[in-house]
């Protein structure tokens, strides 16, 4: 019999009460762990959003965006100018192309609808590909195409629009100067590797998952753009159907395909920190000249998402601390009760020469046995509940975000990526998936810390018990 064995034995002396105490502790500990998991997930997401989206500025040609509008294209020289602006940590140029399926163009030409691929000023040449778009045109696609396509389809006239056969959407091919998507966020590769050096010509390409699936392509498969053969080097998941109907090649490759070696569609400018974004935006606009470039904070609407996530982060942290405190309080009260109940026994132990620290240790260990049991049950409860709690917290707070973010959604053609909406749903999936063992372990360590503090008070109370008071009997 040792102190530990005695503590374990004492913890199970009254089995009904032990079960009740463990159940109450499990609820408090489970809640604490669930809140910690939610907090960690949201904290991670906030950091990620701050790092990737919150600090990104998008530079478009003045008067133009995507494949719409007009003005003068951006050049590589402007990228150099942008890079020299204070607080700018990186500048990534992109060159967007619209790819049309070669067979479909031929079919459309035959039916009299021509030049659908080139509205706007920037990509007049239709770039052909062997790929088929993964998105059906549907009502929105037909309507968008009808309104933006009129300049290119004057030959057929407005009268034929209604009678025109359904066409497939173009595929956006973007040349990128780094492994980021057209909003500056790091690409989420699900298979394969990146393209290596994004500032050199390459015959590699990264395909969106649905585009690859639609065309039956895997990593290593080949397809053609402008009759040149490209190899699929990786697949990415942008999280949206629109984003996945796209492919990326290196920047020089796209410039060569477009036969416009020095031109950029956009520049993605990353600022070193969120606080400097506004100043950098002004400086960048001044450096590039307001007549030549439009600088926008691409995903400003995500700031609302970040701030509402920040409040979720705070709420979950407060709830974690409160639940932790509750667990500590439960332990404190239970142990105070046990000490009172076993006064006589404590007196006997003292009478036969047990040092105060041995008795105190015995009670702390007994508390830890109860907490350990509570943690096991609580961790199980938490792993079941944390996903639900996290998504409940986030969906309630992000519904407002989604509403304000709507304007970037389905209405906008290539410029709007459906960002915040897609972002919010991405948040949900990544938040629910992240109940990591490490976080649970850290939470349980915190629970044990609090339990020791909670048990210490009653343990110290035992030191004040005098043997003779109790030996006289109650």
């Amino acid at each position: 019999m040792s102190v530990l064995a005695r503590s374990v034995g004492n913890a199970f002396r009254n089995k009904v009460r032990t079960a009740a105490v463990v159940a109450v502790l499990a609820v408090a500990i489970g809640l604490a762990l669930a809140m910690l998991v939610a907090n960690q997930a949201v904290t991670g997401k906030v950091a990620e959003l701050n790092a990737s989206v919150g600090t990104v500025l998008t530079v478009n040609p003045a008067g133009g965006q995507g494949f719409e509008g007009g003005g003068e294209p951006l050049t590589s020289a402007q990228a150099t100018t942008a890079a020299a602006v204070p607080n700018v940590s990186s500048v990534v140029g992109t060159k967007a192309l619209r790819l049309r399926n070669a067979a479909e163009i031929a079919a459309e030409a035959a039916s009299g609808r021509t030049g659908q691929g080139g509205p706007g000023g920037q990509s007049a040449t239709s770039v052909t590909t062997s790929l088929t778009a993964a998105v059906d045109a549907g009502t929105l696609g037909n309507r968008n195409q009808a309104s933006t396509g009129t300049t290119g389809s004057t030959a057929s006239g407005t009268g034929t629009t209604a009678a025109a056969p359904a066409f497939s959407l173009p595929i956006t091919a973007t040349g990128i100067g780094a492994e980021v998507d057209s909003t500056g966020k790091a690409l989420q590769l699900t298979q394969g590797t990146g393209l290596g050096n994004y500032t050199a010509a390459s015959t590699g390409a990264l395909l969106g998952t649905t585009l690859a699936e639609k065309n039956g392509l895997k990593v290593g498969s080949t397809f053609t753009i402008q009759e040149k053969t490209f190899t699929v080097q990786g697949l990415f998941d942008a999280g949206t159907a629109f984003g996945n109907n796209a492919l990326y090649v290196t920047l020089p490759t796209a410039q060569t395909l477009a036969a416009l070696p020095d031109e950029l569609s956009t520049m993605i400018v990353t600022v070193n920190s969120m606080e400097n974004v506004d100043a950098a935006k002004t400086a960048l606009q001044a450096a590039l000249g307001s007549g030549k470039a439009d600088v926008t904070q691409g995903q400003r609407n995500l700031e609302t998402a970040v701030s509402s996530l920040d409040s979720v982060k705070n709420i979950s942290f407060i709830a974690f601390v409160a639940a932790l405190g509750t667990a500590g309080l439960i332990i404190l009260l239970i142990m105070v009760m046990l000490v009172r109940e076993r006064r006589r026994e404590i007196g006997v132990l003292k009478a036969i020469g047990a040092p105060n620290r041995t008795i105190g240790l015995q009670f702390v260990l007994e508390a830890l046995v109860l907490v350990a049991l509570g943690s096991v049950v609580g961790a199980a409860v938490a792993s079941l509940a944390s996903g639900g709690i996290a998504s409940a917290l986030i969906s309630s707070s992000s519904s407002t975000t989604a509403a304000t973010g709507q304007r970037g959604g389905p209405g906008g053609f290539p410029g709007g990526q459906g960002g915040p909406l897609g972002g919010a749903s991405q948040l949900l999936t990544s938040v629910t998936a992240s109940a990591s063992p490490g976080v649970i372990a850290a939470g349980i360590a915190a629970v044990f810390g609090v339990a020791i503090i909670g048990a210490l008070v009653p343990a110290l109370l035992t030191a004040r018990i005098r043997p003779i008071e109790v030996l006289r009997g109650e």
Binding site: M1, S2, V3, R6, G9, N10, R13, E345, V348, L349, K350, A351, I352, G353, A354, P355, N356, T358, P467, I468, L471, G473
Partner: protein, 235 residues
Amino acid sequence: MIEVKNLVRTFKSGDRTIKPVNDVSFELEQGTLASIVGKSGSGKSTLLSLLGALDKPTSGDVVVNGVSLASMPDGKLTNYRRRDIGFVFQQFNLIPNLSAVDNVMLPMEFSGMRKAARAERARQLLEQVQLDPDKHVRRINRLSGGEQQRVAIARALANEPKLILADEPTGNLDEQTGEHIIELLSTLSRDHNTTILVVTHDRALANKTDRRFRLQQGRLTEEPVRTRATAALTG
């Protein structure tokens, strides 16, 4: 050697003060087997708890081998109880949810003895007090009063104390088992030079001690006894 000097212990009950120990002084040489007799409520248990450092006197002092208990801090008193004293309580005061062996092992655990050694010694001690081997691992609250009393005696002997204070150690025992316990105690005092002070109503026990004290309303007086030496001479 234990010296008791003008020991007083008073209790307040309502507006009355009672003095179960009233100016008690005596000395015991190391190795003496002594008894205290007296009526119920005469203060015997109170005196014993003062000697065993379970209680603090209102005034006076107990000096053990030259060290005064009155001047000892609580931590030292705990060490004194663990190392130097074996106390057999009138109400046994065993830990009810532990087995007999575990109870006897407790004082040895507190003094840091290794587990195997204390298990072995606990088993030997329980044999010495004639507890059936199959009852060694039985929980205390499933033992009879007499069995519990013998476990309490075994526990008091665990750390080989220099002074054993036993409050009616044979009160719950049959005559034969009581004889055996008396024999055990007198062997300890004779062969191991252990000082033993027993409170008893048992005439057989009181007559076998080297010295006999009587407590009457808090006052201690010594009564003459046939010493063991004379008992041996006269048979």
